[in-house]
Amino acid sequence: MESPVEIVQHTAGGVIGASWLMIAFPLLGAFILLVFNRFTNRWGHLLGVAMSLASFVVAVLAFFELLGLGEEQRRQAVHLYEFIPGMVDMGLLIDPLSISFALLITGVGSLIHIYSIGYMAHDEHRRRFFSYLNLFVSAMLLLVLADNYVGLFIGWEGVGLASYLLIGFWQFKPSAATAAKKAFVVNRVGDFGLLVGMFIMWTTFGTLTFSQLGEEVGKGASNGTLTAIGLLLLLGACGKSAQLPLQSWLLDAMEGPTPVSALIHAATMVTAGVYLVVRSGAFFFPEGSAQALAVAIVGAATLLAGAIIGCAKDDIKKGLAGSTMSQIGYMMLGAGLGPAGYAFAIGHLITHGFFKADMFLGAGSVMHGMNDEVDMRKYGGLRKYMPLTFVTFIVGYLAIIGFPLLSGYFTKDGIIETAVHHQPVLGWLAVLGAGITGFYMSRMVFMTFFGQKRWAENAHPHESPAVMTLPLIILSIGSIFLGGYLILSNTLMDFLAPAVGAPEVRPEFHPFTTPGLATLALVAVGAAYAWMKYGKAEVPAVQPRGSFLTTFARRDLYGDAINESLFMRPGQWLTRLAVFFDNRGVDGVVNGLAAGIGGSSGRLRRLQTGFARTYALSILIGAALLTGALLLVGTI
């Protein structure tokens, strides 16, 4: 394996030196929109789009400046300021990996900003929506651009906050508020892993900067430490990327507005886990080590789980969410294979960012025309009424099922081929997953755009305005060509090599391999089965009861039930026990003491009879006793 090149300190100015502007623009946008809130209502959305576009321009310029440098110069560390004196210097790392992410985030992000102008046009809180979107873009860029784990973590929490705010954007809906809370809580579990991983890094290696960590790990570290750090980072990645066992929040997160689902819960934030694993490659070395294997297994398990869930969902957004889980599972699987899989994982991440955002926005466009109906059983035959949405959705659909020569075909095939080569069992599971993908995505397309109309009475489907369809068109163009461009001549692998290393054997693209053909055959079978069930046959307007397996998938593989019985119930018992102890134990002592004093004083005050002669008698007795005592003492 060729190891990554050294990180060099950036000295000259140029766009790379000013790359902090990428983070600053959207942050400024969010600041202005939040501070001057209703004064910016009229033009707030335009400012949001402008800030996101400005970030994109900086990213493109930095990208070209990086391309202009020699390969051994392509990891530029830009020092910004001393963050925690003697501990952490805040800086940015501009290298092929981070700039790829920056381009994806700002590019797809800007398109989704533009789309949101149309989608949120009738929402009175559109300005607030754009401020959160800008906040998200800023935090996500900090996450991928920071040159140390502290900066990464701040960005990591920032995107978590933005995700929370945006899932709960319509917080007047109890379901949205609950979903936001759930996402936040589940993510805390992952953050705990990331934090503890950082603690171990700090105590073991004394630094949290990527470049220094790389050197320190290179000098030698015990396998146990590396495994511990690797597994903890994986836990963090699982939380953010909705991988098993922390997958439960993603489906509920679809309560947020659709552009949020497209940007945060499909294209960018949920892929942060993949970024974390690839960026922390030093801890997942050598390939085949326990922690790397764990990443691959988590990926394979999630890609199947997500696909199975996707098969049974009637809510178009939840179906897409299951598919997102599944596709990130593919990326994780690729990332668990070491440098051989990194390029394909990142490649799939980028193409997925395009075709999944395309489909989510397409679903949003359908909802926009159908009075926000999300139940696919109430769609049907929409292709004639929304031609542009239909065509772009079909492009995304063909890309995700891996239709030959579209984006998803190249990147997913790369992951499957590499997986079959390195981890045959997981690789063949991925092939199976691709077949299921063919089924559930076809089901979605047939239920939505083909077949009979099953609309609600008051539905008047219409094509969305240009401000919404234009991003769809651009995204679908990316969904067609990007994969081939990145993978065919190893463009992405060579570009990423300085950052993540390259495998010893350069993969060559062969169209006709056993796993590749098996994948295509399974996808065809899946699509054909979907056509039989949902295209040709009539789709029942009411959800049929379904078999055991269907119920299993509808209930998200009982993920919530498991969480509930394993964590929520014992937690409730614990709190009940604490409440019981507090009420009976602590309160008992305090109340008992007070009651005792109150009761005895109640009895004591009966001595105050109000009869002066009684008092006189007690005075006399007291005086007699006192005198007696004095006499007694005197005689001794």
Partner: protein
């Protein structure tokens, strides 16, 4: 030599105390209190004479002064209570209680 005086003083004090405890009429109770005070005075004077100095005599004067003041205040209270409640019984004035 002074034993008889002290016995008289003790008797007077006991009579006074008994009067305070058993009589209900506030005026009588009051007079019994005076009787107790004067029993004390007698004891003071007796001891002063026995020891041979003046301190006991002086204390007796103090007690008289205090008793006089007390009579002024006490009688005023008794008269006021009698005016409002038509009763001079100490047992009737029993509102100030638990």
């Amino acid at each position: 030599m002074t034993t008889h005086y002290l016995i008289l003083s003790g008797l007077l004090f006991a009579i006074g105390a008994l009067g305070v405890l058993v009589r209900r009429n506030a005026i009588v109770v009051f007079m019994c209190v005076e009787l107790m005070l004067n029993a004390c005075n007698l004891a003071f004077v007796t001891f002063a004479r026995q020891v041979g100095n003046l301190e006991g005599q002086i204390i007796a004067f103090f007690v008289m002064v205090v008793a006089a003041a007390e009579v002024v205040v006490g009688l005023a209270i008794i008269v006021t209570i009698f005016r409002t409640r038509r009763s001079a019984s100490v047992d009737d004035a029993n509102l100030l209680k638990y």
